[in-house]
Each structure stands twice: as C-alpha cells, then as structure tokens.
C-alpha cells in the first residue's frame, strides 16, 4: 500500500495488513471465465445448494478489471491461450488464479497437439483443484485455500504493477 516502505513492520502496518487481508479474503470476486466442462460445475457454486455467497465470493464479474480471482475452468487450447493470458493481465493486482480441473492443471485426458498442457505454462497459478470435472464442493475448497493464502499475505507480495 506504500506505507510499509516508509514505516517498516510495526504495529500500524501489521494491523492494517491484517484488516486489509481480512477484507480481501472475504470479498474475492471471481471472473466469469468458463471455458469447457468445468464451467458447468463452476456455475452451481452460486446456486442455492452450494451458495458461495456465504463466503463473500458470489459476485461473478464479467469484466476482468473488476475481478480478483480468475478461475480457469476447463481445457485451454493453444488458440485460446493468448486470450487467457490477456484476461489475466487485464486484472488489477492483487489477483489470484485457480486452475480448475485436470485439463487446466496438466492437460488432463487430452495429451495432443491442440491443448495447452497446463495453464501454469502461461500464467501463475495459486491453487490447483483436481477432478475431471471437480465437484462444486472441491472448487469451494479451492476458494477457501485462496482465502487462507490471502490472510497470510504481506503488502509487499503485491507490488503495484
């Protein structure tokens, strides 16, 4: 936030860090970015059965500028890869990425010329959610892991870009 460079770690900055992280972790706004099958399992997490609103993440944003979390839901083809990277770069820092499903994490069952063998080859990934496709509960667990990660972060982890 700029303060930590001048003041260092003291009671003011660490308390502020805690408060900011608390606010950030409870208002993670994911980006609507469905690619394939996993998107169909991503949709129900806002439905009455799973209800992600309980954890502050229900607001799906269609614009990357308003989103904090990119859920790469599905297989990333080589033709789509530049757009995934572009969407990631358009997001404001601080930002986090979940690689949802086997295809986004490692190519899954599609080991061929068309599919990028893991989205982590083009963008940094914070949490991998296994499954093909993962159960919505598994994706929620992934979002909890992101929240846990946010709570332990320092301001200096996210320099202004």
């Amino acid at each position: 936030m700029g303060l930590e460079h001048q003041l260092g770690d003291n009671i003011l900055t660490t308390s502020l860090e805690w408060a900011v992280n608390w606010a950030r972790s409870n208002s993670v706004w994911p980006m609507t970015f469905g690619l394939a099958c996993c998107a169909i399992e991503m949709m129900p997490i806002v439905s009455p059965r799973y209800d992600l609103a309980r954890f502050g993440s229900e607001v799906y944003r269609a614009s990357p500028r308003q989103a904090d979390l990119l859920i790469v839901a599905g297989r990333v083809s080589r033709k789509m890869a530049p757009f995934v990277k572009q969407v990631y770069e358009q997001m404001m820092s601080p930002k986090w990425v979940i690689s949802m499903g086997a295809c986004a994490s490692c190519g899954g069952v599609f080991r061929n010329y068309a599919i990028l063998q893991g989205v982590d080859k083009i963008i940094p990934v914070d949490v991998y959610v296994p499954g093909c496709p993962p159960n919505p509960y598994a994706l929620m667990q992934g979002i909890f892991e992101i929240q846990k990660k946010i709570k332990g972060e320092k301001f200096t982890d996210h320099p202004y870009e």
């Binding site: 970015f33 129900p44 439905s47 009455p48 059965r49 269609a62 599905g74 083809s77 599609f110 068309a114």
Partner: protein, 419 residues
C-alpha cells in the same frame, strides 16, 4: 486543430470535431460500418465463441462467427485410442449432455460390430431413461443461461436447483455427476442401485410443479416475450438448407426428430409428442425446449414404471470388460480384462454412420474401420455447429442486444462445435 487536418478535397464529409474525437459522417453507408469484436471471453457467448460484428449504429449488418477456441483434437484422439478408451472423451464433447454423447458414439460402435439387436432390453430401457434425464438437465442449463442473457437473474437458481436433483441421481447411479461414462459398448457399466428409483420418482414429482412455475415465471413473462418474439426468424427453407436440427429445426415448422424418424435404443416403445412450432423465431425455439422438457418427463415416467428385468450387458466376453469380482477369482477373466484394457477388441472392416437426437439436435458419429483395435477415422456430426452456422443469416438486420437473445435461443455448446 483537428479541423485543420481534414483535407479540403473531401468536402462531402461533414466533420464534427470535439477536443480529440473526430466523427465523420458520409452519405456512403459503407463508411458508417463499425467493426465490433465480441468474445471469446464474453459471458453471453456461452463459452468461447467469438463473433465479429459489423454494425451500422445499433443495427447489425454482418456477423462472422469465429470458432476453434476450444479445439481439442478429439477426432484425432479417436484414431489413437481403442473403442472403449474413447468413451470418456465423448463425455467432454457436449458437456451439457454427456450421456447423450456416450450414446451417440456407442451406438455407432455397436452398429459397426453388428451387435445392435443383441443389446439386452434392460440396458436399452435404462439408456432411454438416462438420456431423457440428461436432456432435461441440458435444457435446464439452457433455460437458466439464456434467461440470464435476457436480464432475468432468478430462473437459473431455480433451474440449477432442479438440475442438482438430476446430478444426485447420476451420482447415485455411477459415482460421477457430469462426465459419467455410464453407457458402454454392449450395455451399461453396471446395473442401477435400488435407491435410484425413489430419487427419480421424487424428481418427477417436484419437476411437474416446477414446470408450471417456469410457465408462470418465464414463459409468460411480457419482457421475455418482447425480447424474443419476432427476433432471429428462421424460415423452414433456410433451416433445411443449413442442415439445422433439433429444437432449432422444429421451431421452424419441420417435424423431424431422430427418436421418431429412426428410433434407436427402443424409443419406438415410448409414447411422446414432438413439439413443433411454425414461427421460427427465438420465442418458438424457447417454447420448443420448454415443451420438450415436459415430454422428456413423460418418457422418464413411462420408463421407470416398467423397467424390464434381466442383464444390463451383452454376453460377449470378447467385447465387454468382465465384472470386477470375476477378474479377482478367475485367471481367464483376468487375462481377458487385461487384453481388453490394454489393447481393446478387433472391429470388423466397415463404415458406419449412426445418429441420435441429442439435446441440441441430430448428433452423429461416422466410423471407418480397417480392422484392428482402433478406428481408421472417427468423424463427429455436430448439431451445434450446423445450428451456429445459421447465425449470420438470421441475425442480419437485428440489434446488438438481439444477437444475445439469438445465441441463447440457438443453444450452442462450443465443446461440441470445436471438438
């Protein structure tokens, strides 16, 4: 400053300049066209479809769909996999209705092997039961997402709630929610557990009430009718010339459904109607799918009332994998399991094309076999691709907001288009 830069030779242009924007209007309509990119990351394109729109003000003059952003090379994968191994890949084509994709593929393989008539009655019956549940599930997602595109937020919550019940049924049956791989060559993976039938009964009971709710909440909504009626009109001739199928074709007044035209898997034993509308607009396509859900529910009702007894797998040890408990107690079965898993079975030489009615339209698989464990060529006839190809023809002259409604009413799935 800008007005100084305008050449004096272009007197016919009327220049309107502000501080840093210069808008030139000309009499030539070609100069007024603006190109607008939509997608591939756009919430209303139902996946990764990219449209390049040429617009004159708010009116669309040309639409060019760009596909291939989800190209997965599935047809090529089919040439490198044995017939059994390819079934899970079909799940990931139309990921809104995976079981229907399974069915389309395995019916092709069964036709190639010449065992179509030997499939046990119970397996065929259950295939129909699960296909129709899948169709309802697919249409529910369509209902929710296309309603969101039109600005109605709440229908998707109702639709997903109903869909969760169907997903529970699938999970109880085979352990997987979405990509189930339940239908296998020669039958089903395993018999249904006893607990499933009460779940389906409960779903049908709830769904009958829900359908009436949708009727009141969505179908009769004046905003929805205004957004859909007369939008994206598709004539009967255009629909046929573009080889449209499924609800898109039936909304244009053609009574064609593979379940009736060329019944497969025992559909001839069920009584159901094919909803057909003459208007051909987005609202007709909407109504066809709403009616289809009702018809599918009646098929499911007929199916669970009289499930025939018997095995769910064909009695051919050279084609189907043996039961797990038999492989653990019998050496021959273990060897058989090993050979089928590693190498697969040998298919006869031949070419087959077989189609089913998927939730999007006529889904077909064309298999060329030159003998051996793998097909020489596997070609997928994708209904969504053909339904999408009609988009430029029907959206010309409509507004930008209407194209969202038209895409929603075409109900495309990019996984199946790009494969």
């Amino acid at each position: 400053m800008i007005s100084e830069k305008i050449p004096t030779s272009v007197d016919k242009f009327k220049a309107i300049s502000s501080d840093n924007i210069s808008v030139q209007e000309s009499d030539d309509p070609g100069d007024r066209i603006v190109t607008l990119n939509m997608g591939p990351s756009h919430p209303a394109t139902h996946g990764v479809l990219r449209l390049v729109l040429s617009i004159d003000g708010e009116v669309i003059t040309e639409v060019v769909p760009h596909i291939g952003y989800l190209h997965t090379g599935m047809e090529k994968l089919g040439e490198y996999m044995s017939y059994h191994q390819f079934i899970p890949i079909t799940d990931r084509m139309d990921y809104l209705a995976p079981m229907l994709m399974n069915l389309g593929y395995i019916l092709g393989v069964e036709k190639l092997l010449g065992i179509t008539d030997e499939i046990p009655a119970r397996a065929q019956w259950l295939r129909v039961l699960y296909s129709e549940l899948m169709r309802i599930s697919s249409h529910l997602i369509w209902l929710g997402t296309s309603a969101i595109d039109l600005g109605a937020m709440s229908p998707i919550f109702y639709a997903l709630q109903d869909r969760e019940q169907i997903m529970n049924i699938f999970e109880e049956t085979c352990g997987a929610r979405l990509t189930s791989t339940y239908f296998r060559i020669g039958g089903l993976r395993e018999d249904i557990p006893d607990t499933v039938i009460p779940m389906i009964e409960k779903f049908l009971k709830d769904f009958a009430i829900r359908l009436d709710e949708y009727q009141n909440l969505v179908t009769g909504n004046p905003i929805l009718i205004n957004r859909l009626k007369g939008i994206g009109c598709l004539s009967k001739e255009t629909a046929l010339s573009y080889c449209c199928s499924g609800p898109v074709l039936r909304a244009s007044g053609v009574n064609y459904d593979v379940r009736k035209a060329r019944p497969y898997s025992g559909y001839e034993k069920f009584k159901f109607n094919i909803p057909v509308y003459q208007e051909g607009d987005s609202y007709a396509r909407f109504l066809v799918r709403m009616d289809e859900m009702r018809e599918s529910a009646t098929i499911v009702r007929q199916a669970i009332d009289a499930i025939p007894a018997g095995p769910v797998k064909i009695d051919r040890t050279d084609i189907i994998l043996p039961d797990k408990h038999r492989t653990q107690g019998n050496m021959e079965e273990l060897i058989n399991h090993f050979i089928l898993s590693c190498r697969g079975f040998n298919a006869p030489v031949g070419e087959v094309f077989s189609t089913i009615e998927s939730s999007k339209g006529e889904f077909g698989v064309y298999l060329v076999s030159t003998g051996g464990e793998k097909p020489y060529r596997l070609r997928v006839h994708s209904p969504s691709f053909l339904n999408l190809s009609v988009l430029p023809a029907i959206s010309r002259g409509s507004l930008i907001a209407d194209i969202v409604a038209i895409i929603g009413s075409l109900d495309i799935v990019l996984g199946e288009i790009d494969r």
